[in-house]
C-alpha cells in the first residue's frame, strides 16, 4: 500500500514538473500518454535527487522533503496557469492515409507484442528478484544497500576496497531504490523490479506516443513493434541494470528536443528545451555514458546552431543565419539551465566519494596509435550491430536498414535543426564509446564482450525514433507518396 502511495507521489511530482514546462496546447491522447510516460521516469529521477539531498544534509524526514517538493512544483504549476500563457500550436501528424485493414493488423500485432513482452518481463522479474547478472548485485543493488543500510555512513560503500564495484558510478538507480526502502523502513525486492519495469515500458510508451503525436499511428505502431521485438531490451529492462533507464532518458532528451522544434510559438515552448536539459541531466546522473551523451548533445548543438548555423537546413541568406543563431543561443542556454543542477549534483557526488573512474585512472595514449585495436573494435561494432538485440530471426537493425534501402525515396530528411543535432549527438556518442575502447585499461576483447551490446542498447530506442520520424516512407502527409505498408 505504502509502495503504491509513494509511486503515486513520485509520478505526481514528475507530472507536475512536466506540466510546469510543457506548452499550453490542445490535448490529444498521444500527448497525454507522452506526458504520462515522461512523468514516471522524471518522477523516479526526482526521487533519487531528493534522496541524495536528504543523505547529504543528514536529513531524517525524507517524506517531508518529498511533500515539500510536491508543494513547490504544484505552486509553480498553479502560478503558470494563473499567468495564462498563450496557446502554442504544435504541428501534429496529418490524418492517416493507410488502409483500415492495415491499421487494424498493426494494432493487433502491437497489442500481442506488448502482452508478450509484459508476460516475459514479469516472468523474469519473479525468477530473478535480485536482478539477472553480475552488475545487478555487484554494483547497482549493492550501492542501494549501502545508501539504505549505511545511514550517515553511506559513503563507506563507495570505497576502492571493493574492486569492480565502480564507486564512481552515478546514483540515480540506487538512490531511487533506497528512497523507497527508506520510506518503507525495510528492503523489498519488489522495488528494483518495479523500477525496472517502469523504465522499460515507459520507454516503449514515449517512443509510441511521440511518434503518434508527430508522425501518426502507423509510424508509432511500427516503431513500438521494433522495440518490443528486441528481446535484449526486455531482458535488460528486468535485469536491474542501469542501461534501460539511461536509454529512457536519452530517448526523452531527443524526443523533447525534436518536439520543441515542432512548436510554432516563440516563447512558452522553450520549457520543452529545459525539460530536454533535465532529461539529459537525469541521464548523466544514471550512468557515466550519460555524461558522454550530455557532452555529445552540447557539442552537436554548438556545431549546428552556434558555430556553423550557415550550414544549417533552413538558413539560406545571411539575415536568416543571424535570425537562426540568436534563438539558437537562447535555446542552448535553456538546455544548459535544465542540465546545470545535475552537473552540480554529479560534481558534488564525485568530489564527495573521491573515487577515480577506472577507465581514466591511467590513460594509455600509446594505444591510440595501435591500428590493430581499431580493427578489433570495428569488427565488434559490425558484429554487434547485427546481434546486440538477441534477435532470433531477423536483426532489428537489418530490418531498419532493409526498409531504408527498399524505400522509394531513400533520402532521410533531418526535418529541422533539432533532429540534425540529435543525429550528430548519437553519432558522437558512438564515436565516444569507440574512443573509450581504444584506451581501455582492461583486456579489449573482454571489455567489448561484456559491454558493447549494452552500449548499443542505450541508443537503440532513440535510433528507432529518429528513423521513423524522418523516413519519408512512413510520412502519410507527403503528397504523391503512398505510405509503405509493411
Amino acid at each position: 500500500m505504502l509502495v503504491a502511495l509513494l509511486t503515486l507521489l513520485g509520478a505526481a511530482n514528475g507530472l507536475l514538473l512536466v506540466l510546469l514546462l510543457w506548452p499550453h496546447e490542445s490535448a490529444s491522447s498521444a500527448n497525454w500518454l507522452l506526458q504520462g510516460c515522461l512523468s514516471l521516469g522524471f518522477g523516479l529521477g526526482l526521487f533519487s535527487v531528493v534522496f541524495m539531498l536528504s543523505r547529504a544534509s543528514a536529513g531524517q524526514h525524507l517524506l517531508a522533503i518529498d511533500l515539500a517538493a510536491f508543494a513547490l512544483l504544484l505552486a509553480g504549476y498553479l502560478y503558470k496557469n494563473k499567468r495564462g500563457y498563450p496557446a502554442v500550436t504544435v504541428s501534429h501528424s496529418s490524418g492517416e492515409a493507410d488502409p483500415h485493414w492495415l491499421v487494424l493488423v498493426l494494432r493487433a500485432a502491437f497489442a500481442i507484442a506488448l502482452l508478450a513482452a509484459l508476460y516475459s518481463a514479469i516472468l523474469r522479474a519473479i525468477t530473478h528478484p535480485h536482478g539477472d547478472g553480475w552488475d545487478a548485485f555487484a554494483i547497482w543493488n549493492l550501492h542501494a544497500r549501502f545508501l539504505f543500510r549505511g545511514g550517515e555512513h553511506w559513503r563507506d560503500g563507495f570505497t576502492p576496497l571493493i574492486p569492480w564495484s565502480h564507486p564512481d558510478y552515478p546514483l540515480l538507480l540506487p538512490a531511487v531504490i533506497s528512497h523507497f526502502w527508506t520510506a518503507l523502513g525495510r528492503e523489498n525486492q519488489l522495488v528494483p523490479t518495479m523500477v525496472g519495469l517502469v523504465f522499460t515500458f515507459s520507454t516503449v510508451g514515449i517512443l509510441f506516443s511521440s511518434l503518434a503525436h508527430l508522425r501518426g499511428q502507423t509510424s508509432a505502431t511500427l516503431a513500438g513493434l521494433v522495440l518490443l521485438a528486441t528481446p535484449f531490451f526486455i531482458e535488460q529492462g528486468t535485469a536491474q541494470y542501469a542501461d534501460v533507464p539511461l536509454s529512457f532518458f536519452i530517448l526523452a532528451t531527443i524526443v523533447l528536443t525534436c518536439l520543441c522544434e515542432k512548436s510554432s510559438a516563440v516563447g512558452p515552448h522553450r520549457g520543452l528545451l529545459v525539460l530536454a536539459g533535465i532529461s539529459c541531466g537525469f541521464g548523466a546522473w544514471t550512468k557515466n555514458e550519460g555524461l558522454l551523451f550530455l557532452l555529445a548533445i552540447f557539442a552537436a548543438w554548438l556545431l549546428i546552431f552556434v558555430i556553423a548555423p550557415s550550414r544549417s537546413i533552413d538558413s539560406n541568406t545571411p539575415s536568416q543565419h543571424e535570425e537562426n543563431a540568436r534563438p539558437a543561443s537562447i535555446s542552448f542556454v535553456l538546455i544548459l539551465a535544465g542540465v546545470a543542477p545535475f552537473l552540480l549534483l554529479i560534481a558534488w557526488f564525485k568530489h564527495s566519494i573521491g573515487a577515480p573512474n577506472e577507465l581514466f585512472a591511467a590513460i594509455a595514449f600509446h594505444k591510440l596509435l595501435d591500428a590493430s585495436r581499431y580493427l578489433v573494435i570495428l569488427k565488434w561494432y559490425g558484429k554487434d550491430f547485427l546481434r546486440f538485440g538477441d534477435w532470433s530471426l531477423i536483426p532489428g537493425t537489418l530490418l531498419l536498414a532493409g526498409i531504408y534501402f527498399a524505400s522509394p525515396n531513400k533520402h532521410m530528411r533531418p526535418t529541422n535543426f533539432a533532429s540534425r543535432a540529435c543525429h550528430i549527438a548519437l553519432a558522437m556518442t558512438l564515436a565516444g564509446y569507440f574512443l573509450i575502447y581504444l584506451i581501455t585499461p582492461y583486456d579489449l576483447y573482454w571489455h567489448l564482450r561484456f559491454s558493447l551490446n549494452r552500449l548499443f542498447l542505450q541508443l537503440w530506442p532513440a535510433v528507432i525514433f529518429l528513423f521513423f520520424l524522418e523516413n519519408p516512407a512512413f510520412d502519410s502527409s507527403v503528397p504523391g507518396e503512398k505510405p509503405v505498408s509493411r
Binding site: T127, H130, A138, G150, L161
Partner: protein, 106 residues
C-alpha cells in the same frame, strides 16, 4: 489465475537470494559498520562468492585481506579454511561460512 500460472511456471532461483540466507547468521555476529577482512577460495572461482558475500553483508565493507581483527571466511568447503595460519576460527556457521579472529591483530 494469471498470477497462479506465472508463479507456477517460474520458481525464484536467485543466487543473491540464496547468498543472503547463507550469510544471515554471520551478519548478526558482525559489527554493523566498518571494514572486516575476507578470505575465500583462491583463483577465479573465489571472485563471484566474494561479491555475493559483500552484497549480503553490506554496509560492512569486506577487504580481501586477512589483516583485520575480524575476518570473514567464505569457502566452497570447510576443509579449505584450514590453510590460514594466522587466523583463529571464532565460529563455524556451516556451509563454508566462518568467522575468524586475526591473531596478529590488536
Amino acid at each position: 489465475m494469471i498470477q497462479a500460472h506465472i508463479l507456477g511456471r517460474s520458481r525464484p532461483d536467485d543466487v543473491a537470494q540464496r547468498s543472503d540466507l547463507r550469510f544471515a547468521r554471520l551478519k548478526a555476529a558482525l559489527p554493523q559498520q566498518g571494514v572486516v577482512g575476507y578470505v575465500g577460495d583462491a583463483g577465479e572461482s573465489g571472485v563471484a562468492p566474494y561479491y555475493l558475500a559483500q552484497y549480503a553483508l553490506a554496509p560492512l565493507v569486506l577487504d580481501r585481506s586477512p589483516n583485520h581483527p575480524f575476518v570473514v571466511g567464505n569457502f566452497s568447503s570447510s576443509t579449505a579454511a584450514t590453510a590460514f595460519e594466522n587466523l583463529r576460527v571464532l565460529k563455524d556457521f556451516g556451509d563454508g561460512v566462518l568467522l575468524f579472529a586475526g591473531e596478529d591483530q590488536p
